[in-house]
């Protein structure tokens, strides 16, 4: 699930060793959890007028080649024409607090809003590289899409030293692919946010009904397409036709278990109702007998 597929960047797999000869594992891909993404957006909304962009720390886990960003927290920083300052005490204190709740998450890098990378980015990257040593720090640049001519999206980078004598303010940001990843169980929360009228008083059946309506709409769309092909209005796509046949050809096999299943389900419904009414009666009886 790429967050921004329009990027034309070719991801270079650089397997060079670092300067001191120790092979350092460079992350080749990055996943980001919605919770971290939303934290960044929230931080951006709460910035002060003087702040051009906001930065913060990314927490997560890493394997050999991938970095999973699980959460993020805001860090105070100030940027002027002359200098950049990051509140390191705040960063450390906040990291200590976060590790108490989620001990398995470590610092993996930092984020900033806006997509411009400058000397200050390199300096901050240098600072975070010390925090994440011996691993490399990743940098996530999040475009909020609020500025003219820039679309919303997320880009991830790792840094690479440049020049014969590496200096902290010089580095090349190498883009790495970035994906949004979340557990299937967290899907429903996102669905709720995506729905145009987010109200919470839905039941199981409401959700089912909306899903069925969706499916019905899609079937109608497919049906309209197929009929227009049959009428000769549109030239049919053979690949689509085969795909439809594969998908719709799989029928449900009737194996006689249906009736048994139905009876079980009905029984369970009956039982649940019975238990609920018993519980209610029992609660009322507790009031009367003691009185």
């Amino acid at each position: 699930m790429p967050i921004r597929s329009s990027s034309s960047a070719a991801y270079i797999q650089n397997s060079s060793t670092s300067t001191n000869g120790v092979p350092s594992t460079r992350p080749t891909s990055l996943t980001i959890h919605p919770s971290a993404l939303f934290s960044i957006l929230d931080h951006y909304l709460r910035r002060t007028d003087a702040q051009h962009r906001v930065i913060g720390t990314l927490l997560g886990t890493r394997t050999d080649s991938t970095v999973d960003i699980k959460s993020a927290f805001a860090v105070l920083h100030s940027e002027t024409d002359e200098q950049v300052a990051v509140d390191m005490d705040y960063h450390r204190a906040m990291y200590d607090l976060c590790t108490r709740v989620r001990p398995n998450e470590t610092i993996v890098g930092w984020y900033s809003t806006g997509s411009d990378l400058n000397t200050y980015s390199a300096l901050i990257q240098n600072f975070y590289s010390q925090e994440t040593a011996p691993n490399q720090a990743v940098h996530v640049a999040l475009d909020t899409g609020t500025e003219e001519g820039k679309s919303a999206g997320v880009k991830a980078y790792v840094s690479s030293p440049v020049g014969i004598f590496p200096k902290p303010e010089n580095c090349v940001f190498v883009p790495i692919p970035c994906e949004l990843r979340f557990h299937e169980a967290e899907r429903s929360g996102l669905d709720l946010m995506l729905s145009p009228n987010p109200l919470s008083n839905q039941t199981d059946l409401d959700v089912l009904a909306s899903s069925l309506t969706d499916v019905q709409n899609m079937l109608n769309r497919v049906l309209a397409y197929v009929q227009s092909v049959l009428r000769g209005e549109v030239v049919g796509d053979k690949a689509v036709g085969r795909y439809l046949m594969d998908v719709l050809g799989t029928g449900v096999e009737e194996d006689g278990g249906w009736t048994a299943g139905l009876q079980d389900t009905l029984m369970v419904t009956y039982l649940a109702n019975l238990v609920r009414s018993q519980a209610e009666v029992s609660a009322r009886l507790a009031l009367t007998t003691a009185a």
Partner: protein
């Protein structure tokens, strides 16, 4: 074991109830009518709705999924405005299992204070309005929840809210937030169970919950959900369009995954309730027996006194019966009430699962018949 410590920690860290501001000079202006809804010092406007920000939802979801085996709880931060409680942020509280109580309590309190201070530094909300708790299959009534809420009741505006999030619903991929309701605490006292006409359904007052995504977040989400067409013209139709947020149809899965577990839990909750009822009945019998003994003793003494008076002797002093007979205190019905609430909640979610399963079965039957 973690529960009372958490409750005590909350008590230590929350601000004391604010005293009503007494105007020093008598020349204060009346609050203009246009502002009367915004300025609500005494928290007089009742809450009608709890509004959760998108970030809070993802944070709670993540926390409760990661802490599946333990209870996940955390604090909600936000503001209330004109009857709507806007929850704009939240953070998780650490779980302590093996530390001794006193130490854990203090460290949680310290954790909370420094977290709130840190959030304030980056312009976050730092006003505690309630807490959240993750639960399974809808049975969220337990002693720790009540304890925590009791502390909030005294110290927070509107008595604080508790947001209950159901893990098992999300685990099945269903919409969970419908099942996650905000509950507000109504009057509660263990002793005056009957005088308050209290049942499990009236312990907490349910408040409708609303999800709010700010403009930036919703535009971002919608950008993510837009499918993008593959750059390869000959891609397979199934993979030709991709999206960062593809639509999910896991609700349509036939078969009841959680049904067996749910049934087991109903049975377990009923068993627990039976045991608790047995305890209460045993205690009640003991009380009755002790009372009977005390009464017979008093009656005997009275009879003897009457006889002594008739014989012209001095009456024996009426001794304090309560010192001779130890009548046990009335058993608390809170536990059994909470257990009953659990039974009801489990049965309710069972009913929901079975109902949806029924519809799906008929749908599958109808489609296979084509």
């Amino acid at each position: 074991m973690a529960a009372p410590s958490m409750a005590a920690a909350l008590a230590a860290s929350l601000p004391a109830p604010q005293a009503a501001p007494t105007p020093a000079a008598p020349t204060y202006e009346a609050i203009p009518a246009s502002m009367s809804k915004a300025i609500d010092i005494e928290a007089e406007i009742p809450l009608t709705c709890v509004q959760l920000d998108g970030i809070v939802i993802t944070k709670i979801l993540k926390h409760s999924r990661e802490a599946f085996s333990t209870t996940a709880h955390g604090l909600l931060l936000g503001l209330d405005l004109d009857g709507i409680l806007e929850v704009s942020n939240s953070f998780a509280l650490p779980n302590h299992h093996n530390d001794d109580d006193e130490k854990a309590t203090k460290s949680i309190a310290r954790y909370q204070q420094s977290m709130l201070r840190s959030l304030k530094e980056v312009q976050g909300d730092d006003n505690v309005v309630g807490f959240y708790q993750a639960t399974s299959l809808g049975a969220f009534f337990n002693q720790s929840l009540i304890d925590t809420q009791a502390i909030h009741q005294d110290r927070l505006r509107h008595g604080g809210v508790v947001v209950v999030h159901d893990i098992s619903q999300t685990a099945r991929g269903n919409a969970s937030f419908p099942f996650m309701d905000a509950y507000r605490r109504a009057n509660f006292s263990t002793a005056g169970l009957i005088s308050h006409r209290l049942t499990f359904s009236s312990i907490l007052e349910e408040i409708p919950l609303r999800v709010r995504t700010n403009a930036l977040l919703s535009s971002y989400l919608n950008t993510l959900a837009i499918p993008s067409t593959s750059t390869f013209s000959d891609a397979h139709p199934g993979v030709a369009t991709t999206s960062a947020l593809p639509p999910s149809y896991s609700v349509l899965d036939i078969g009841n995954v959680g049904l067996t577990k749910n049934l087991e839990q109903v049975a377990e909750a009923i068993d627990n309730y039976r045991t608790e009822e047995g305890n209460v009945a045993y205690l009640s019998r003991q009380i009755a027996r002790e009372k009977l003994r005390a009464e017979t003793y008093v009656a005997k003494r009275k009879e003897e006194n009457a006889r002594r008076v008739a014989q012209g002797l001095n009456a024996l002093p009426e001794e304090d019966v309560s010192r001779l007979f130890r009548i046990p205190p009335e058993p608390s019905r809170l536990e059994s009430m909470l257990l009953l609430g659990q039974v009801d909640a489990y049965a309710k979610s069972l009913e929901g699962i079975a109902g949806a399963g029924l519809v799906k079965m008929y749908a599958a039957k109808a489609s296979s018949g084509v």
